[in-house]
């Protein structure tokens, strides 16, 4: 090591490290995004740095992220804690103290309730409810023909549809699963008759819906709370106090109003949150309103994130798939095993694969890259294998007769002959990765999936296009890039459709 370098290193070590920002997470529905924004801005108003991991794909993803420390705080609901995340550890109707104790054992602090409940409800259009004379959930049992569609989470959760169905002995069958926001739109359009709502959904007012009375107490309490890691206070003194300022400050009407502003009027969540904080606590000391990034800056940031995901994943996939494909081609028995295993991985739905990575790698870019790399294996392995196996026997024998070592034969003859096929596999893998990477936003990896998620959440076509159009363009650009790479990598004698490998 040179002295200068050593000195620089010492300086870097001696300087106090910049404190890591307090990472606030949110689920992919508007209320969660707004609450996280409120929390993050309160942290910032306390003079600390805050970061956002917005629109992650579900309670379980956030919970794991909080336990692993990928996220420092996020808004949650007591019912979700007792019935899903800590189910089996605490009673379904555990009192707040029991819940706090269970959370403390995991290194998690739960603040006092924020002041409103966001419980499950089942909603119908007002005129349908009136026509059928429905005002409570027990009435649903008399109308087996009603078309029900629920959000996927509601369908799966023990305290959701299964509990509702059992408690009220509901006869409806063929219940469909839909994204929550899509279900609300289908309800408004009359394509379905009823769906699950949250009691603070802004759409209840806008779409003229009624929430049926839970007359047998099927749904648990869903008090909104903030969760944060117990070690947060040590790492960012003042952060917990800042988060506690929100306790008891948001009633149901205030939350519905904010949901309407952010979800229906499509005011950015950061501005909705700032407006609420200004009214509740007065303007921030420095008085500067939060800045929205412009379209160009957003696109640039998303593109950088997306390219990083795809690029690193593709590099990993190539590094892994090339030797696997060669091995598969040289050893037929191992080859069947390798191709089978890689093919099996491909059958895992991409979203499931992403979520499977969380316990191993947390949230963010790393698990997304790992999932994308695993996903990209098959096209490359298969094409390396078929490219090598497809070499005409007289060429393979010629190479063998030339008394080259096995490695030299591979490097000088067989891999070049297989290169058109190999490159085609890499190209397929790259295009798949560009598309699949949009799902990475669900686990906090950013990229073009972020505006797509926001677009789905807000039913905003411009936002959807802000993610979908660049993703499509990037896929085209990747195709174009590979045409150039092909000209550069594939030997002239193997190029062009008129002369495939070998002849």
């Amino acid at each position: 090591m040179t002295p200068a370098l050593a000195a620089a290193l010492c300086l870097a070590l001696a300087a106090p490290p910049a404190p890591a920002p307090v990472m606030v997470g949110s689920k992919k529905f508007t209320e969660s995004v707004v609450l996280a924004e409120l929390a993050a801005q309160l942290v910032e108003r306390a003079g600390l740095a805050a970061g956002r991991r917005a629109e992650l794909g579900g309670s379980r993803v956030l919970w794991e992220a909080l336990l692993r420390g990928d996220v420092d705080a996020y808004p949650e609901y007591t019912g979700t804690l007792t019935r899903e995340l800590l189910a089996g550890e605490v009673a379904a109707d555990a009192d707040p103290e029991a819940l706090r104790a269970a959370l403390a054992a995991r290194g998690v602090v739960m603040g006092a309730p924020l002041g409103f409940q966001d419980a499950y409800a089942v909603g119908l259009r007002r005129e349908v409810a009136a026509r059928l004379g429905l005002d409570s959930l027990s009435g649903l049992a008399n109308h087996p023909g009603l078309r029900l569609a629920f959000s996927h989470e509601f369908l799966d959760r023990a305290d959701g549809w299964p509990r509702l169905r059992d408690r009220y002995r509901l006869p409806q069958r063929g219940v469909r699963g839909l994204d929550h926001d899509l279900a609300l739109r289908a309800l408004a359009a009359g394509e379905i008759d009823a769906t699950d709502l949250y009691t603070t959904d802004a759409e209840i007012e806008r779409d003229g819906l009624v929430a049926l009375r839970d007359d047998r107490g099927a749904f648990p309490e869903y008090q909104a709370v903030l969760l944060w890691r117990a070690d947060l206070e040590r790492r960012a003194p003042g952060a917990a106090a800042a988060l506690r300022r929100l306790e008891g400050r948001i009633d149901e009407r205030a939350m519905i109003a904010m949901n309407a502003r952010a979800g229906l009027d499509r005011v950015p969540a950061s501005r909705v949150a700032a407006g609420f904080l200004d009214r509740a606590f007065g303007p921030p000391p420095d008085g500067a309103p939060p800045q929205e990034a412009g379209l160009a800056a957003r696109l640039l940031a998303r593109t950088a994130e997306h390219l990083l995901l795809v690029g690193v994943a593709l590099a990993l996939a190539i590094a892994l798939a090339l030797p696997l494909g060669v091995w598969a081609a040289l050893r037929p028995a191992a080859g069947r095993l390798i191709l089978g295993a890689v093919g099996l991985v491909q059958t895992i739905p991409s979203l499931a694969l992403l979520v499977l990575m969380i316990p191993l790698l947390g949230i963010g870019a790393r698990p997304a890259v790992a999932a994308l790399a695993v996903y990209g294996l098959l096209p490359i392995v298969r094409n390396v294998h078929s490219g090598l196996r497809g070499i005409p026997p007289e060429l393979r024998e010629s190479a063998e007769a030339l008394a080259l070592t096995r490695l030299a034969r591979l490097r000088l003859v067989e891999l070049p002959l297989a290169s058109p096929s190999i490159l085609a596999g890499v190209r397929t893998s790259a295009v798949i990765a560009v598309g699949t990477a949009t799902l990475g936003a669900l686990i906090g990896a950013g990229g073009y999936g972020q505006p797509i998620l926001a677009g789905i959440r807000l039913a905003s076509v411009p936002l959807l296009l802000e993610g979908a159009v660049p993703a499509a363009l990037l896929a085209l650009a990747v195709e174009g890039l590979f045409s150039l790479v092909e000209r550069w990598l594939v030997p002239r004698g193997l190029r062009g459709p008129s002369r495939p490998a070998g002849r």
């Binding site: 007289e394 060429l395 024998e397 010629s398 190479a399 063998e400 007769a401 030339l402 008394a403 080259l404 070592t405 030299a408 000088l412 003859v413 070049p416 002959l417 290169s419 030997p491 002239r492 004698g493 193997l494 002369r499 490998a501 070998g502 002849r503």
Partner: protein
């Protein structure tokens, strides 16, 4: 006395249901032997046994008195092999094909170039063609390049599998004459596979007639014609005689 350049001792090779051998044969240094017979006779398999590309199930294959082992690359480099059609690698130029192994072995560029020029003259290949890709060469030119590639490291033994197969009659006649001239100049031990009796007689000091995996008779072309050892040999010699030289279709 020196051992023969090539010796097969009671060699047996099973390929699925078919069995080749037992075959015993010797080729003296500097001699040319033609393996003749209908397709499926086992000619190409004998060539692969000599090359060490396949191992015999029984018996021994000896080159200059030493057994051929498949993994012995140094020994394999002393045997040149020309596959049917040249077997050129389409991603390399003619020169790249010929010099591939020399380059891998670290020959300096000047030595490679000198050897290329020497071989081009021997194989009567116009030097500008050396920069072409195999796809841009005619069948006869590709075969000449294949011969050059086999000769690059100056092997003691040269094996050719149907060197004139799939060529038009005119190209065939020209290449045939050039090949024999090259064999004579080089004085190498040559084994070539053909199904054409005239071709065998043109090139070879001796010929070995194979059918159904068995060696029917071995001797000079003259001796076989004059005194066929069996009716089977006589029938093959008669049947193979009929098509005029060069018009026979490859196996």
């Amino acid at each position: 006395m020196d051992p023969p350049a090539i010796e097969l001792r009671e060699v047996v090779k099973r390929l699925g249901a078919a069995t080749i051998g037992p075959v015993s044969l010797t080729v003296a240094a500097g001699q040319t032997l033609a393996l003749v017979g209908p397709s499926g006779a086992g000619k190409s398999t004998l060539l692969r046994l000599l090359m060490g590309l396949v191992e015999p199930d029984a018996g021994e294959v000896l080159l200059h008195g030493e057994p051929v082992r498949p993994g012995d690359l140094a020994r394999r480099r002393r045997v040149g092999w020309v596959v049917q059609g040249g077997g050129l690698f389409p991603h390399l130029t003619a020169a790249g094909n010929v010099a591939l192994v020399a380059r891998h072995l670290g020959w300096p560029a000047a030595r490679r170039a000198a050897r290329l020029a020497e071989l081009a003259a021997l194989a009567r290949l116009p030097p500008p063609l050396l920069d072409r890709l195999p796809g841009e060469l005619s069948g006869g030119q590709a075969q000449r390049v294949g011969l050059m590639r086999a000769l690059m490291l100056d092997p003691a033994v040269l094996l050719l599998d149907e060197p004139l197969g799939a060529l038009d009659p005119e190209t065939r006649a020209a290449l045939q004459a050039d090949l024999r001239a090259a064999f004579e100049v080089l004085g190498k031990t040559v084994v070539l596979v053909t199904h054409d009796l005239d071709e065998a007689a043109f090139f070879a000091h001796r010929m070995a007639l194979l059918a159904g995996g068995r060696l029917l008779q071995e001797g000079t072309p003259e001796a076989l014609r004059r005194a066929p050892a069996s009716p089977e040999v006589a029938r093959f010699l008669g049947a193979a005689r009929r098509p005029s030289p060069g018009s026979g279709s490859p196996a």
